[in-house]
């Protein structure tokens, strides 16, 4: 793994601190994500997983510490700025508009306008092109839906998550972040979403994932970033540690440092 160590991480955080009043959510947290991998962030409730992810996706600004994108320090004041830098986030509560159709949800906030004068002046959308591109993105991830004109509310939970993932994958040039992508789903649909995440990785975009589901995490992640009390306590791999050992690290019952792959 020394080759990996020498590479510059796609996304890196150093010494992030975030306090809410007297509560310290992040207490000098580090993080790194390399090209072509899936990293799962695990930790007990209140360990700072969500806060870390929010800092990486621009939803909050850390009080101290820095975030680097391909080795360059960046500063996100809001999720839009993170998005402009190629970091897309799939939010836990399926951030889609149920009454709008699949194509509209995929392009929400990024509507493609007609290239002629009415597109520029009146901001008239190019619906045929958005339908066409939506079809391509959905087919790319092998998500099984009939029509791009279907309202999202007519889809199953797994299909909806598929649309959310497709949106992130379509626009993420660097990183896709997923917050509990399978929390609301059944077993079969979870499996479908895990396949999607692998497809995203295979297409070259590294993925950061929060999950409480240990078997799932061990199934899909290349590396596990273990958080406890606002810090990274270890980085382990499914090969180097067992689930029991990972839980011991999360709860502080064990404090041995992670060995790299």
């Amino acid at each position: 793994m020394s080759a990996v160590e020498a590479r510059v991480p796609v996304l890196e955080a150093r010494g992030l601190v975030k306090r809410y009043g007297v509560v310290t959510a992040l207490d000098g947290a580090d993080f790194d994500l390399f090209a072509g991998e899936i990293v799962a962030v695990i930790g007990d409730n209140g360990a700072g997983k969500s806060t870390l992810i929010k800092a990486l996706s621009g939803a909050i600004e850390p009080d101290r510490g820095e975030i680097l994108l391909n080795g360059t320090p960046v500063h996100f004041r809001n999720p839009l700025e993170a998005r402009r830098n190629g970091i897309e986030t799939v939010y836990q509560d399926l951030a889609l508009a149920p009454a709008l159709d699949i194509a509209e949800n995929l392009f929400l906030g990024r509507e493609v306008r007609r290239r002629d004068i009415i597109g520029t002046l009146l901001r008239v959308t190019d619906r045929p092109r958005m339908l066409r591109e939506a079809r391509a993105h959905i087919a790319d991830l092998k998500i099984n839906v009939r029509s791009m004109k279907q309202p999202v509310e007519t889809l199953s939970g797994g299909q909806r998550q598929g649309v959310a993932v497709a949106r992130a994958a379509a626009f993420a040039s660097r990183v896709v972040i997923m917050d509990e992508p399978t929390a609301a789903l059944g077993v079969r649909e979870s499996g479908m979403v895990l396949d999607l995440i692998r497809t995203v990785r295979a297409r070259g975009t590294p993925v950061v994932l929060i999950s409480h589901n240990m078997p799932q995490v061990f199934e899909i992640a290349d590396r596990l970033h273990v958080m406890r009390l606002g810090r990274r306590v270890a980085t382990i791999t499914p090969a180097s540690h067992t689930m029991t050992e990972a839980v011991a690290l999360m709860t502080g019952a064990s404090s041995f440092q992670g060995k790299e792959g």
Partner: protein, 273 residues
């Protein structure tokens, strides 16, 4: 019907964002008094007077929008407040007097022309034209799609990069502008500036929107439906009147119609969830 039709366009925009506007009738009444009083009593150029009357309504729309977005107050309460403010200002400014002897440009939209054997007012043509224009903007433009997204799931819209506050302020401002145009059409129809006008405008427009199939929960519906809703309510009333049914029964039936329309919306929503 043209007046309620135009008020209902503004109401549709606001209901699509999961809001409601109780102030539109009184805002319109204020607009009529501003434009007629300036034109008649202050001898202002009628076109400038019209522009200022419409601007007054636009101002109320912007005020509603700012209160809803910046102070994050519920639209119901905000517009209940501005309803009373506009009502009071209308009566204070008019001294409770009806303003007559209006110059021609101010009453233009009350003029009629003959087409295919019927008499049509320019106001009605304007109402239909504004409906079509609004339909185009809502369905074909980025701004319009953002109105639907903001009404349907404001958090998702915001996270997706839609500037939801800007959308809301734009919607309330546009609605205000439409109420100003409705004021001009109303003055054309009645030929006077009447401080008592428009008092049922809010409920009539909400009825038209709801009967037209737009959901009170936001994000679903169409301004074309509102046009149909306006026609249904209007024809219903007109028909009942022609049949000699007392006016009070028309209220009764309109009330039942609204409850039915909302019930259908509510039930279809429940079956989806």
């Amino acid at each position: 019907m043209a007046v309620v039709g135009i008020l209902a366009i503004g109401q549709t925009l606001i209901i699509l964002t999961a809001g409601v506007d109780l102030s539109n009738g009184s805002v319109m009444a204020f607009g009529t008094i501003v434009m007629t009083k300036l034109a008649v009593m202050h001898g202002m150029n009628p076109f400038v007077a019209i522009a200022l009357g419409i601007a007054a309504c636009l101002g109320f729309g912007v005020l509603n929008g700012l209160l809803v977005t910046v102070l994050r107050l519920p639209p119901f309460i905000v517009t209940l407040g501005t309803l009373n403010i506009a009502f009071a200002l209308t009566h204070i400014y008019s001294n409770e007097e009806t303003i007559a002897n209006l110059p021609d440009p101010v009453v233009f939209f009350g003029n009629t022309f003959h087409f295919a054997g019927t008499t049509i007012t320019y106001g009605a043509v304007l109402a239909v034209a504004l409906t079509l224009l609004t339909w185009f903007v809502l369905t074909k433009t980025v701004a319009g799609r953002h109105v639907y997204a903001t009404g349907n799931n404001p958090d998702a819209a915001r996270l997706a990069g839609v500037r939801t506050r800007r959308v809301l302020i734009g919607v309330y401002a546009t609605a205000g502008l439409l109420y100003g145009i409705a004021a001009l059409v109303l003055v054309g129809r009645t030929g006077v500036g009447d401080p008592q006008a428009g008092q049922s405008g809010n409920l009539d427009s909400i009825t038209a929107v709801v009967v037209g199939g737009t959901s009170l929960f936001g994000g679903r519906g169409s301004v074309l439906g509102t046009l149909v809703g306006t026609l249904i309510v209007g024809i219903f009333r007109n028909g009942l009147q022609l049949m000699g049914v007392a006016a009070i029964y028309q209220f009764l039936i309109t009330g039942i119609l609204v409850i039915l329309a909302v019930a259908v919306d509510q039930l279809s929503r429940r079956s989806r969830a």
